[in-house]
Symmetry: C2
Subunit: 356 residues, 2 copies
DNA sequence: GGGGCGAAGGTAAACGTTTACCTCTAGGGT
DNA sequence: ACCCTAGAGGTAAACGTTTACCTTCGCCCC
């Protein structure tokens, strides 16, 4: 806090009542103030460096003009962009962001939400690890705080609707499959962060698997990693990547992971996409600076942030709004995917695909 | 806001006075409450789902337990880490973050600081484009809000001290120079974002140039870019990179830029480090996933965030604290630097360095 | 047995706003 | 000449806390 000059000081200095000052400053009331008085008040405000106290105001108006935003991590550029989008929209509407990052930790998620509640945020924008088992969400609903989930793919029907802004992650998985199938891949694998920490990964996996099944292909091998490079290595081992029996294409649940995978492949002298194709999800900018450039499914992250902010704000104004907004994703070309390798002569050690 | 049950409701429900509730909940007052009353109150709190109003509390205590944090951008992982560090420390101390990103825009910087002031943050943590001409800083000082600059290298002596948490950016520049000189480089260039937007870039440049001068080498060519890849290309053109008259080493003012530069070099078939060495600053994680891995000067970003938070908090408690904390940086090995290329036969078109 | 003391808890006055309601003045319509 | 209205501005009551200051009571010590 600071050299608090209050509205009372201003009123005194300008020789008017506090009500007048308040009315003028918020442009309220039919009975407006005369221009002379206005001038005096403004002069006083200027002279005293008056700044209305948010606390006093909030107490009376019962709104804080704060929006809580909870994201798992800022290391992933996707979340950084979401944040930028939210920030931008919120600022324009005169709202401020109470931000916290959860590091994918359920404990911290709850803690963050509690904090939002304690601070009486007017609205909340969240990405949680698992909407269907996040107690915090219930708290927000109980407190009737307009909230929206970003990126999450809530599929728990028992819970009454909390709006979502996301892409169709199952379709993302399908699109990846479609792309790889079109290039002749028949043996694929998926590498993902812990599914328990990301319902979007789960949805992507589901779409991926279904598309493969529909195409008459066997289920892909799937491997979870803890996102430390050592684990990436063992994941590649367990999938037999690079060997004749290994997959010809790797679907990574996000770009950061895909980049780590490409690094490890390079270390092993597995050529991308010569031996193995790699594709990620997110469309982060740095992907196209890699060599080979990373193919990915791009999401309009920044726009998602803006949409999310717009959504909670209109909810705040009491406007009914679409429960869920599905934004379009897109395929981002990249050198990291290519036609399936014809990896072995016909008399291969892999009897399952003699015609490949 | 929400189904506001107030402290009065709790008091009533528990059959005690509000003062008792308040005292119990904050563990204040020598005259403690008896265990039976405590139990009743807690039961009431539980039953009613009571949550103290931050507004009411702030109004009375004159502190918000909010810390403002202003950073230029979250796209740079360095800032994301700072944020994580601040977030972590603040949370542990029971503070919440009011966050905003300025996109390196002076207007938005000021706007953000005003917002902090309007919300009466207890403290502020900032990275600004230019400390010596940021009006916002003066406002913070005038309002006596404990503040700290992170990453900035304030060098305006006329201004009374605002504490800094940073690395010695001039030394960073020197260390880069030293490293490159040791590898035999004699012709170097620096590529940086707009210097006007980053005093740390300016300091790095200064150190770099001074070290070269002290080593008897000519001043490096320096080129500012607007951080769009098209500009990186023209920067490389203007520096003659890849030609016999061009530099054998490029010092990039941050890793993201270095990565973009490496990308463009690759496109031009300029070998790194064979033809040109590249070194960045920041030590972002993704640098070591590139090929070649990026050499860099690492900064302890997360720690800087934690230190910054600790610093403003102790300032808040009235403890005097070191005006400036210089943290150690470190050289991060990377494949992107190597010995200076002996780029042309003795009868070169470059008469300036016949002996090289 | 009385004075003193400390523990337990109540009373009420802030903190800085906003806003419903009131007062006053001037002007206009009949 | 009168009433009505509208504009301009003042008065004071909230909003939900915290906390200084009381009151009460039981206990101990002389």
């Amino acid at each position: 806090m600071a050299g608090s000059t209050t509205i009372k000081d201003v009123a005194q200095h300008a020789g008017v009542s506090v009500a007048t000052v308040s009315r003028l400053l918020n442009g309220k009331g039919k009975g407006r103030v005369s221009t002379e008085v206005a001038a005096k008040v403004h002069a006083a405000v200027e002279a005293l460096g008056y700044r209305p106290s948010a606390a006093g105001r909030s107490l009376k108006t019962r709104q804080t003009r704060n929006i809580g935003i909870l994201i798992p991590s800022l290391s992933n550029p996707v979340f950084a962009e979401i944040f930028a989008g939210v920030n931008d929209h919120a600022r324009r509407e005169g709202y401020t962001l109470l931000a916290t990052v959860s590091e994918y930790d359920r404990e911290l998620e709850l803690d963050g939400i509690q904090t939002f509640l304690n601070h009486q945020v007017d609205a909340a924008i969240l990405t949680v690890t698992n909407p269907s088992q996040c107690e915090g969400l219930a708290l927000l609903k109980a407190a009737k705080v307009p909230s929206v989930l970003v990126f999450n793919q809530e599929n728990d029907a028992t819970r009454d609707a909390m709006p979502l802004v996301t892409v169709d992650n199952e379709q993302v998985g399908r699109d990846v499959a479609k792309k790889l199938i079109a290039l002749g891949h028949k043996s694929m694998a998926m590498i993902a962060g812990h599914f328990s920490a990301s319902d979007r990964s789960r949805a992507r996996r589901m779409g991926f698997e279904r598309a493969l099944t529909e195409a008459g292909l066997p289920n892909p091998r799937v491997c979870e990693v803890d996102f430390v490079s050592a684990e990436v290595a063992s994941a590649l081992d367990s999938l037999n990547v690079g060997s004749a029996t290994g997959p010809t294409a790797l679907f990574c649940s996000n770009d950061l992971l895909a980049i780590a995978v490409m690094k490890e492949l390079r270390r092993r002298s597995v050529r991308v996409p010569g031996d193995v194709s790699v594709i990620g999800v997110d469309g982060i900018a740095i992907g196209s600076l890699m060599s080979p450039t990373l193919a990915s499914i791009t999401q309009p992250s920044r726009e998602m942030g803006e949409k999310a902010a717009a959504l909670v704000l209109s909810q705040l104004k009491g406007e009914a709004c679409a429960a869920t907004q599905l934004l379009a994703h897109d395929y981002q070309e990249g050198e990291s995917v290519g036609p399936a390798a014809t990896k072995s002569p016909p008399s291969s050690s892999d009897p399952l695909q003699p015609k490949a």
